[in-house]
Amino acid sequence: MMRFSRQTVRAIMLVSLACVGTQCSQAPPPPPANTGATPAAGAATASPAAQGPLGSTLPGDADFSDNPQTLQALQHDFDVFSWQSFVALNWTALADGSADPQKVIGADGDNRTVWDSYKEPYEVFLPDGSQPPPWGQQELPAQCRNIGPADGKLIQMTQKVSDDVLDVAGQPFGTGPLVDQQNGRYVRYEIRINRDTYDYIVQNTLFNKEGQQAFTKLVQFPSGSSATAQNPKPPVGALVIKAAWKVVDPAQGDVPGRFHKVQAYVYTRASDNPPTQPSCELKTMGLVGFHIAHKTASAPQWVWSTFEQVDNVRVGHDAPPGTKANFHDPSSKYPANTPPPRPWNPNVVLPPDKRSQVTRVIPIDDATNALNAQWQGWLRAVNKDSVWQYYELVSTQWPTQPKNSPTGPKAAGEPAPVFLANATLETYIQGKTPNVSSSCIMCHNNATTTNSKFSDFTYLLERAHKKGGDNR
């Protein structure tokens, strides 16, 4: 049975995959002509020819037009979709958050990104359950006011996995924090949702408990789809980003040119377990992990793309002498993939012998490595100092049986690959044990609303409060 629609609109980029690793980034293959991520891309982006396939238009779905349809070929299609999405989301942004049609990603080395203006959950699920402010406004916590620019980025979370089930009043601690080798500081996380996700939540009043209670249908976020001649501007669909950031400090051995960086308010919420004072510091933070979850027509279980900075678990390509991995020190005796000892207080700087010792349990496969080298080459071709060439796709998880009923016995839709973990976001649940080891779809299949209804593969709706505020 044919499970994926075919498209014939787009020419396929098939460049030699013979070169891998550092060779590619030093001598990238000649970029093919920009066919755009979708037919609409060419119109939306007045792009220099040199940008190759790099485009600012977010694809609404993967393109399955290459044949034959095999597990490997479909994986390739989804991996290409991942890279297209990564590039479009990190495209140079204008002041209003939209993609700058004049500036290719990384043309200036680094750039403010499109997704940076997406909403964070705390802006949507307000403590008093009220209607969230319109798209495009940000409120800073009291601790962060008057210490920097009002439009600065705010990063709060100290752990991702448990944050799935965290509301603003909850405890941000579950499987354990990740601590970088250079600074001994906690990695911080943020979640951001796109406009389609935000609109669905607001339009259906899913931002408070009462609204969720009143919503009797199955939660179904909108799906993206590929552009066609008939429908040149299809919806993007629901898209959720999770990003992991570490402190970047050249004085501690970090190489700033290898990270996408932001000036961010690093905000620590008050907590009584462990006893933690609220704090807010303005820091230079470098992107080390990047998840894109995107609901598409071909993937009702969503497509899960995950990227990392190349130096996370070993020193990546083209590193200057003396560069150290972000989360691995060959000389450390600290056990691998084990959280630091408690108490887990994010305000504490850990000594070198307690810093995270992370290994990648499931290696990135050869085909993905080859694809990474290719896209890194294109990014480097834009500007040899582009920070974006130092990111790699770990893999893309997608459902091989997408038509399985969300209320049936096989709701997860047989995800491929079976397991997928980002070393910075699922550090401590890497592995190959069903129902436990990191699988984006299997875990998010357990996500619910505040009243235990299936919430369509996002834990965000758990964060809703009662109108007027929760009281026990």
Partner: protein
């Protein structure tokens, strides 16, 4: 050598009792050290789950280490019961009979809550004074009303899902722990009952047994019915025992972790084996421990740690083993044992399994392992004649009873079935399977006891527990009544009883010449009980040793009598009560 420490309290055991105690003491600013004999909390549950998947026999202890009876942190296993009489013993316990003690426990951080069911029933008011009310068993030193606020606090601490109006039976009352004038509510709404529960309730209809109206009650459960405490909602993996893959069910690693976040220190792979006592003051002077790295290897370090106060929380078999292993010239009975009651009155909830084929599909093997029960026969005038019981309704078909689906699949294939007939015949059988597990209140017998073996030791040279165990006639009569009443319910439902006690079983016993099979509930209780009379009880009503004023004990060993509720919630409530009292009095 005794190490000088700055701890206020040393706790032996990092299960639910030790974990909660450490957490509450740390919240009050006390400095706490916990010693635990097993490995620490793993970064994730992958290793345990992988072991579970690959084990042929998916018993309660199958996911956990170790695999043999003589390792450093060994504990009993269900598989050991098949050959419990063999010498040298194949399992950890030295079973002297006449019946084998049939429950198991874990010795890893988090303890047996890794494999508990999650059932969180309160004891009934009459359970606290059964001697006075019915002339059997032993009264508690206090009543339900004294423990009621602590039940409420325990339910909020561990997270219990239930609806008060469905739990107000047999005189149970509920009020706000901090204000008796205010109503109480559980922290989470009730877990949805299974389709099976609904069919059973409908088919039972109107039925009176032993003077009690029979009804099906939703069971209070420590599992998430809504997102709670940073943990996921139950997804019905039907695996609470032996392991919840997604930690929707509470386990004590949660409070051990919270305690560590408050600065509590935990030493893992540190096996306490005796207590020292200062003969001048009568105070406990230290905990003697041995440490290991490889559970099959030997001792890597020994030592003694001291603090002003001690809490034993090592489990109802391990705690008396340690106390009795602390014999000295001055204390020939061991520590805290002037009464000679330490290790005696070992109790369980012997569990009568009754299974039947239902007249219509009930679709078991779905949902949490148990979501409802018949609680009607937990109390009533019949308690003058025989022991009461609660009838847990299993959601796992005949899995416990006959090892299905493995049993029937092999039987059908062995008969030559294949293809669609095999699939459809299995379907027709499996969807109609139902069982009751009737947990019978066991009466205390001073001869039911655990002592340290003089013959057999573990890999660290520490004596292993030797157990003498039997059921008294009143308990046996309750077991027989459980069988009869299950049959009456089956008959009312139009179900076909298929219960077949195997007379060749290593766990068979008889009552009125009828064979019954002893099953353990995993509820080890009663070996260091509390009560006012220091000649009859080990602890006073504050769970403090009658003999040593700086020694406290928590856990199900303190229960004077055990009622019919699964003990974990009562462990939590009595622990919170004890620790609160310690903070307000001796640690002030």
């Amino acid at each position: 050598m005794t190490e000088q420490t700055n701890y206020d309290v040393i706790i032996v055991g990092a299960g639910i009792a030790g974990g909660l105690a450490a957490y509450k003491l740390a919240q009050a600013g006390k400095r706490v050290l916990v010693l635990d004999g097993g490995p620490g909390i793993p970064p994730n549950r992958g290793e345990y789950m992988e072991k579970f998947y690959l084990e042929m026999a998916k018993t309660p202890e199958s996911p956990y280490p170790p695999d043999t009876g003589d390792e450093a942190n060994s504990r009993p296993r269900i598989m050991d019961l098949i050959s419990w009489k063999t010498r040298p013993p194949t399992g950890y316990l030295i079973q002297e009979g006449p019946l084998p003690f049939s429950s198991t426990y874990e010795r890893v951080a988090g303890g047996t809550t890794w494999h508990w069911l999650g059932t969180s029933l309160r004891l009934l008011p009459n359970d606290f004074h059964i001697q006075t009310a019915y002339g059997h068993g032993v009264d508690w030193p206090y009543g339900y009303d004294d423990l009621q606020p602590w039940y409420g606090r325990a339910e909020w601490e561990i997270g219990v899902a239930a609806e008060v109006s469905h739990q107000e039976y047999h005189g149970l009352t509920f009020w706000d722990p901090d204000d008796p004038a205010k109503p109480y509510s559980y922290p989470m709404p009730e877990i949805l009952q299974t389709y099976q529960d609904q069919v059973v309730a409908r088919l039972i209809g109107d039925l009176t047994l032993e003077g009690q109206q029979v009804s099906v009650s939703p069971t209070p459960q420590a599992r998430n019915s809504i997102p709670f405490d940073d943990r996921r909602v139950c997804a019905g993996n039907t695996n609470c025992i032996p392991i919840c893959p997604i930690q929707a069910k509470y386990d004590a690693t949660i409070h051990v972790g919270k305690a560590q976040n408050l600065g509590v220190e935990v030493w893992y792979k540190t096996v306490a084996y005796s207590l020292g006592v200062d003969n001048e003051t009568g105070l406990v002077s230290g905990v003697n421990y041995k440490q290991y790295e490889d559970p099959k290897g030997g001792v890597t370090n020994t030592g003694t740690v001291s603090a002003p106060f001690y809490i034993m929380a090592a489990h109802a078999i391990e705690t008396p083993k340690i106390l009795l292993n602390s014999r000295s010239n001055e204390l020939p009975n061991g520590v805290a044992n002037l009464s000679d009651q330490v290790g005696r009155n070992l109790m369980d909830h012997p569990t009568q399994l009754s299974w039947a084929l239902m007249p219509e599909p009930v679709y078991p093997y779905r949902g949490p392992l148990a979501t409802s029960g018949v609680e009607s026969l937990r109390d009533g005038d019949f308690r003058k004649e025989h022991a009461p019981f609660r009838m847990e309704m299993g959601n796992e078909g005949w899995n416990w009873a006959t090892n299905d689906p493995w049993g029937s699949v092999n039987q059908f294939i062995g008969e030559g079935q294949f293809g669609p007939a095999l699939k459809n015949n299995l379907n027709a059988l499996l969807v109609k399977q139902f069982r009751f597990g009737s947990l019978v209140e066991q009466m205390p017998l001073s001869t039911n006891r655990i002592v340290p073996s003089t013959q057999y030791a573990d890999a660290l040279g520490i004596p292993r527990p030797e157990i003498t165990y039997d059921l008294d006639p009143y308990t046996r009569a309750g077991y027989a009544a459980a069988r009869q009443n299950a049959n009456a319910i089956f008959a009312k439902m139009g179900a076909t009883d298929l219960t077949k006690p195997d007379p060749t079983s290593s766990r068979v016993f008889y009552y009125n010449d009828q064979p019954y099979i002893l099953n353990g509930a995993g509820h080890t209780m009663g070996t260091y009980r509390m009560g006012g009379d220091r000649k009859r009880f080990v602890l006073d009503a504050d769970q403090r040793s009658h003999d040593h004023p700086n020694l406290f004990m928590v856990g199900s060993g303190v229960f004077p009598s055990v009622g019919t509720s699964n003990p974990t919630l009562t462990i939590a409530a009595t622990t919170l009560k004890t620790v609160d009292n310690m903070i307000k009095t001796v640690l002030k």
